[in-house]
């Protein structure tokens, strides 16, 4: 679905459901260089079960017009503006990777709009290695290959996708490669520069779930656990996968989300 926000088109997937703001809402926020399609399966699940699904594309991603936002704060303000525009008062906020930072920031700064919080593949701070950041600045296509490789577990790199006939490696890469030039660097730089994480984590008051991949090389299991322990009452679900948990362990991620959304 499309709406106009600040003079630009904003796109959000509804999981093949209807836009129904009177139902309980769930908002999905994708990671760096990605878009709403990473939430294909959970979006469809919650839509079928009567939720109002908003799998948004941040500006410059997927179907939303750019320019890309350059700070996590600006992204969560944008999410807030989108929810207001869509008439959504309160929602479960789910974010992966960069999206987990946006979700965390949103939950702390807009507590009355946050019913619950799920952080997938998270870490705060989320330092991006110089190698990757420099690559993204000079040639973001090369950075995408690097990041896509690091995003999969060792078995994941060899394949064995649970969705019949799909490839883990090229599935991830082709999605990144759709991102317009400059957007991926803006995303990584925003993650790298987000320093308010620990403060935001302390401010979160809603039920929170952290989902981590035991082979995550982008946001390691230790860092994810640290985020969880800084949020009052947060639970942790550990899965057998890398950072790309939505494709490597789609059914297990869905099962985890069902317990918090």
């Amino acid at each position: 679905m499309k709406t106009q926000l600040g003079g630009a088109t904003a796109f959000y997937g509804v999981g093949n459901g209807e836009h129904a703001p009177e139902q309980p809402s769930v908002v999905f926020i994708h990671g760096s260089g990605m878009d709403h399609t990473v939430w294909l399966m959970p979006a469809r699940h919650f839509a079928r079960h009567g939720y109002n699904v908003v799998a948004l594309d941040l500006p410059g991603h997927g179907g939303s017009e750019g320019p890309a936002l350059t700070t996590i704060d600006a992204m969560s303000d944008w999410v807030s503006a989108l929810l207001e525009q869509l008439g959504i008062g309160e929602a479960a906020i789910v974010g992966h990777s960069m999206g987990s930072l946006v979700a965390l920031d949103f939950a702390a700064r807009y507590p009355s709009h946050t019913r619950s919080l799920a952080l997938l593949g998270t870490s705060t701070p989320m330092p991006v290695s110089d190698v990757l950041l420099d690559a993204a600045k000079n040639d973001d296509r090369a950075a995408m290959v690097m990041a896509n490789t690091w995003s999969h577990s060792a078995p994941g790199l060899m394949g064995g996708h649970k969705s019949p006939g799909m490839t883990l490696y090229f599935g991830g890469l082709r999605l990144l490669q759709r991102t317009p030039e400059g957007v991926y660097f803006a995303d990584l730089a925003a993650c790298n520069a987000f320093e308010a994480g620990p403060v935001r984590a302390e401010a979160v008051a809603c039920p929170t779930l952290v989902v981590l991949g035991n082979e995550d090389k982008m946001t390691g299991p230790k860092q994810s656990r640290a985020v969880a322990s800084s949020i009052q009452g947060a639970r942790v679900v550990e899965l057998d996968c890398g950072h790309a948990m939505l494709s490597e362990q789609s059914n297990a991620v869905l099962a985890a989300l069902k317990s918090i959304v």
């Binding site: 878009d35 399609t37 959970p42 079928r48 490789t149 006939g165 490839t167 090229f170 789609s250």
Partner: protein, 432 residues
Amino acid sequence: MSKPPFEFDTLALHAGQRPDAETGARATPIYQSASFVFESAEAAAGLFNLERTGHVYSRLSNPTNAVLEERIAVLDQGVGAVAVASGQAAMHLAVATLMGAGDHIVASRSLYGGTHNLLSYTLPRFGIKTTFVDPRDPAAFAAAIQDNTKLVFGEVVGNPGMEVLDIPAIAEVAHAAGIPVMIDATFTTPYLCRPIELGADLVMHSATKFLSGHGIVIGGLLVDGGVFDWAASGRFPTLAEPFDGFHHLNFAEEFGPAAFIARARREGLRDFGACMAPTTAFHILQGIETLSLRMARHMENAEQIAKFLSEQAGVLSVLHPCLPSHPDYELAKKLLPRGAGAVMSFEIAGGREAGVRFIEGLKIFSHLANVGDAKSLVIHPASTTHHRMDAEALVAAGISEGMIRLSIGLEDAADLIKDLKAGLRSAAKGGR
């Protein structure tokens, strides 16, 4: 800039499969089961709604087939693949996924006969027409594109002329018009050519041939590169508009880069049903494990034999891109540095009769209608596949009365050359 994290030969053995978690089976098990038990009623509903991964029914997907699909998709650098009953079924599935009555295809004129039949005689009955153009002329592809064109199609190496398709040039003209390119890569396999890397969007294979190598099964594979933007093109309602046949699912919107292959499975396999048998998938996987070794040997033998034939008095001409006399010699060196495939054709002196005597004089080459076996194969189109055509009709089809097609196998090249010499002797003898 999209090379996978392991080298080709490693992926050919491992991609898409892990040792079985329960039994430890190292080889890919054959899941000879029509259907799969649901974990729960809720999980069943989730599978039907595409919100969970897993298998329902082997027409739609099967765990053995899934390994083959992922393996070929990785080797071809695509987002996914669908395994089907034959190469012909792969071609049909691609067409049926992209278009319907009133639509149009631009195709190279130099195609496998079965594909030519489908495009020029059968699909028009369903309202889909094809314009055939010179495979060596990208401008002709561009000129043939109409408002209703949905696909540009060609083979990496045509047959019998062995024309090498300039995939980057053809992709450029197709993409300028918002149209995807599909390449039939049967003769080359991803070992010799990865069309997606060269700019194509979709790839199909008759897996019956070199991918298998053993000549014991019929199978087809359709690979989606995940690179074409179906919504931006504006020509693809099947992919970028809600589909009534799946609760208004908009494939481009929900699946993004995987829209095509998702629709091919969810509609094409579901409704047309040309699925692959799991045992067939297992056999093709056995072939792919040794693809690199076999293709390298195919190329070694083929190049020796092309050279040998080109030096024989009883041979009027030899068509293979490895020969400097071939019009695409330079293009093949650029696009197909590992070789242009093990199929070649040559023109024997003495016409139709000499062709028949040549075939009958061979002992090692098998006279049959196939290519891509580990064993060397031969066919004389004028007395077999094209026997109803007179000399004039043959010329129109690019075939002459004395044309012989060879598929060079993995035997010792010295024995193959001896056999060809015997064939040439018997062709010449009868002529006197």
